[in-house]
C-alpha cells in the first residue's frame, strides 16, 4: 500500500503534537519527509519553537510574584467594603 504524503495541515498538527506527546515512528517519518520539501512548514516549525520561548519569558515576567496587572482604585475600594461588610456581620 503506497503511503500518502502528508500535506501542510497534517504537518502543522504533528509539529504541535510533538511538543506535547511522542510521535509514532510513522508520524515522525511523515513529518521529516514533508519538512524536507516544504519551506513554509520549516518556517512554521521555527516559529512554534520561538512561540514556546516567548511564552516562557512571559510566564517568568508576568506570573508568580510579578504582578503586571493590578486592580484599579474603584475595584479595590469595592472589595474592601465588601469584605468589611462580611467581617462585620
Amino acid at each position: 500500500m503506497a503511503k500518502k504524503m502528508i500535506a501542510c495541515d497534517e504537518a502543522g498538527f504533528l509539529i504541535s503534537k510533538s511538543r506535547d506527546a511522542k510521535l509514532t515512528f510513522r508520524e515522525k517519518m511523515g513529518l521529516k519527509i514533508h519538512l524536507m520539501t516544504c519551506h513554509l512548514c520549516r518556517k512554521y516549525e521555527k516559529q512554534i519553537i520561538q512561540l514556546n520561548k516567548l511564552i516562557g519569558r512571559y510566564k517568568e515576567q508576568c506570573t508568580h510574584e510579578n504582578c503586571c496587572q493590578t486592580l484599579d482604585d474603584k475595584a479595590r475600594q469595592d472589595l474592601l467594603h465588601l469584605l468589611q461588610n462580611e467581617l462585620d456581620k
Binding site: 502528508i6 500535506a7 501542510c8 495541515d9 497534517e10 502543522g12 498538527f13 504541535s16 503534537k17 511538543r19 506535547d20 506527546a21 513554509l40 520549516r42 518556517k43 512554521y44 521555527k46 516559529q47 512554534i48 520561538q50 512561540l51 514556546n52 520561548k53 516567548l54 511564552i55 519569558r57 512571559y58 510566564k59 515576567q61 508576568c62 506570573t63 510574584e65 504582578c67 503586571c68 496587572q69 493590578t70 486592580l71 475595584a75 479595590r76 469595592d78 472589595l79 474592601l80 465588601l82 469584605l83 468589611q84 462580611e86 467581617l87
Partner: protein, 195 residues
C-alpha cells in the same frame, strides 16, 4: 505541628496583601479584567465562608490562590462550546480552514493569506517585556471557544494532558487538536501584530 508553624488567617489584611496578586493571577488566565475582578471578589467571599476549614498547613496566599484556581476552572467549564465534540474527526479537525485549503488541488496546503513569512515571529532580543506581555495577552484573549483555556493550562500552569482532560471533560486527542489550533492562531496573531 507547633503553633509557630501553623498559619492563621487575617481576613482584614487580605485586600492589601493579596488583591493585586490574585487579580493578576486571574487576568492572565481569564483575559477579561472585569470577570477577573469578579472572581477575586468571589474568592474572598468563599474564603470567608470556608475559613473554618483552613488547617494552616499552607500559607494564606496559597490557600486563597487554590480557591481562585478552582473558580477559574469552573469558568472554563462553563465556557465550553459544543463545537469541541466535532474535533473527534481527525481529518476535519486538523484541516483548520482558516489556515489551510480544504479542497481543490491545493487541499491541505497553507492558504496564501495565512502562511508564515519568516523563520522568526519577532526579533525577541529587541522587544520589551511590557510590549511582549501586551501582544501575548491580546492574542490569547482572541482565541475562540475554549482554546485559550487549554493553552493556558498547558503552557502557563504546566498541567498534564490528564489533568486538562479531567478538568475540562475532553479527550487527550481533543487536547492535541486544541493546542494545535491555538498555536496556529497565536503564531499568526503575534506575527501580524509585530509586523
Amino acid at each position: 505541628m507547633s503553633s509557630e508553624d501553623k498559619h492563621i488567617l487575617q481576613p482584614s489584611s487580605w485586600v492589601d496583601k493579596y488583591a493585586d496578586y490574585l487579580f493578576n493571577f486571574a487576568v492572565v488566565r481569564i483575559s477579561d479584567p472585569e470577570q477577573a475582578a469578579d472572581l477575586v471578589q468571589d474568592t474572598f467571599l468563599s474564603a470567608l465562608k470556608a475559613k473554618n476549614s483552613f488547617q494552616g498547613k499552607s500559607s494564606e496566599k496559597t490557600w486563597l490562590t487554590s480557591i481562585l484556581k478552582r473558580k477559574i476552572i469552573d469558568s472554563y467549564r462553563k465556557r465550553k462550546s459544543t463545537k469541541e465534540s466535532s474535533l473527534d474527526d481527525y481529518e476535519q479537525s486538523i484541516n483548520d480552514s482558516k489556515f489551510f485549503n480544504n479542497d481543490g488541488p491545493f487541499k491541505g496546503h497553507w492558504k496564501d493569506e495565512s502562511k508564515p513569512h519568516s523563520n522568526s515571529l519577532m526579533p525577541e532580543g529587541e522587544i520589551e517585556n511590557s510590549e511582549l506581555r501586551e501582544i501575548i495577552e491580546k492574542c490569547i484573549s482572541l482565541l475562540p471557544e475554549n482554546l485559550g483555556a487549554v493553552f493556558i493550562m498547558k503552557m502557563i500552569d504546566d498541567a498534564s494532558s490528564e489533568e486538562i482532560c479531567k478538568e475540562l471533560d475532553i479527550t487527550a486527542s481533543n487536547v492535541w487538536v486544541m493546542m494545535h489550533r491555538a498555536r496556529l492562531r497565536l503564531r499568526s496573531c503575534i506575527e501580524t501584530n509585530w509586523r
